[in-house]
């Protein structure tokens, strides 16, 4: 043993701690394996603290609003009534159109099935290392949350999927902007299939589109194809921002996701595998 180590036990402690953490990192390789019990434990212990703080914030916020924002509430109410009026009209038109193909009972059952399988969740925490990787929501094991459930924003655009760890009342969502995320998608007009991955900086990259493939349009919408077996088909993900034909085999296509990071508060967790009930 080197003489400086014999003399200084503090250095030994430091080396020991670093060594332990290197072992901890090593046992998690390859990536995307099942989380370690230690990680699950840490998540289960500390995420409720975040949950509590956010709950307190929300309660304080609603208390503040109820006392000082009554004028705003009236305006908001009128706006919501108007919005609801148009949504009801839209709903009726869609129902009437659907009746051409299905009976009233079938439609009602299908709609009920959708409603029962959508879980409302709120974001309680952001990823400490990179905000575009993941968020933590206030729904967990007790709410029947399971891995790989798709998550949408309030407008129905894809946000990501549930990944572990899942604690009793909290779980983590891997965002579509994470560079380890992979989604099978197709483009709206040309219907070209590709794999969408995040760039870790708030945008997505459409991968494996051959340079010889047909050109896409800027602003062309991108939807999930359902071929990955995780995300149901037909969910809007984003639109093509830029495309570049490189000297390599594949095109370089950037996709801007529809969900807005600043607006990421209310989310919908889809509990069924197949949303395409019609």
């Amino acid at each position: 043993m080197p003489s400086f180590l014999k003399k200084n036990k503090n250095i030994k402690v430091l080396i020991g701690l670093i060594f332990l953490q290197l072992i901890l990192i090593s046992i998690q390789v390859p990536l995307d394996e099942e989380e370690t019990y230690f990680e699950k434990l840490m998540f289960s212990v500390f995420s409720p603290v975040q949950h509590g703080v956010v709950y307190l914030f929300q309660k304080t916020g609603s208390f503040w609003k109820s006392y000082f924002d009554l004028k705003g509430a009236r305006k908001e109410n009128e706006r919501l009534k108007e919005e609801m009026f148009f949504l009801l009209q839209e709903n009726n038109i869609i129902r009437n159109l659907l009746q051409k193909y299905k009976s009233e009972n079938e439609i009602n059952d299908a709609l009920r099935n959708i409603q029962e399988n959508i879980l409302h969740a709120r974001v309680i925490g952001f990823d400490a290392s990179n905000f575009y990787k993941s968020v933590v929501i206030n729904k967990g094991f007790l709410d029947d949350i399971q891995k790989n459930m798709p998550v949408l924003d309030r407008y129905g655009n894809l946000v990501g999927r549930i990944v572990g760890p899942i604690s009793l009342k909290e779980s983590r969502i891997q965002l579509v902007t994470d560079n380890n995320c992979g989604i099978s998608v197709f483009s709206e007009k040309k219907e070209v299939l590709g794999v969408l991955a995040g760039d870790g900086k708030g945008m997505c990259i459409l991968k494996y589109i051959l340079s010889t493939d047909e050109d896409f349009f800027q602003g062309e919408r991108v939807y999930t194809s359902g071929f990955d077996g995780i995300f149901p088909p037909g969910i809007s993900v984003g639109e093509i921002l830029s495309l570049e034909t490189t000297s390599g085999l594949f095109k370089k296509i950037m996709v801007k996701p529809y969900f807005k990071f600043q607006d990421l508060d209310n989310l919908a967790v889809i509990k069924i595998k197949n949303l395409n009930v019609f």
Partner: protein, 163 residues
């Protein structure tokens, strides 16, 4: 036992402030590295071994708030805790300006170590948040020096009252 309670309280307060800051502005938590401040504060008070152990623990908490490999932040914070405890025993880093420079150097080194491990393990460059993350050493150093100064003043007032 008293130390354990103080450290636990410090960590819980940090998580609360971290969550509240993230809810208000996501950039704020990129500018101020709260977990490292707790590590540096206790390392300066209790020494390098305590700092290293607390750094390892706080790093693991930090990692539990992020998706990916568990333990990356732990190594960087362990080194920060150890260095903070070791240097503060040799040099008086309590005056405001010295404390500012001291924390600035520690956080800059931590960012480099963390960035290296992150890029190596994930094979990708880390998100700088349009460069905001580079303000972290100064943001953390300034807020940390100010907080440490206030704590010392508060402690001074309470000890005078006791006498």
């Amino acid at each position: 036992m008293k130390n354990l309670i103080r450290v636990t309280a410090g960590i819980i307060i940090t998580i609360i402030i971290y969550t509240a800051l993230a809810k208000i502005s996501i950039s704020a938590v990129q500018i101020i590295n709260l977990f490292s401040l707790v590590v540096i504060y206790f390392a300066m008070e209790k020494g390098e071994v305590f700092g290293a152990c607390l750094g390892a623990f706080c790093g693991l908490i930090y990692d539990s708030f992020s998706l990916g490999v568990f333990g990356v932040a732990g190594i960087a914070k362990t080194l920060t805790g150890f260095l903070a405890g070791y240097v503060s025993k040799k040099i008086d880093v309590n005056p405001f300006i010295r404390s500012l420079i001291f924390i600035f150097i520690l956080i800059s080194s931590e960012l480099i170590v963390w960035g290296f491990f992150y890029s190596y393990i994930f094979s990708a460059s880390f998100n700088t948040g349009k460069g905001i993350v580079f303000l972290q050493p100064f943001g953390t150093a300034f807020s940390g020096s100010l907080i440490f100064l206030l704590i010392r003043k508060f402690k001074g007032v309470t000890s005078k009252h006791k006498k």
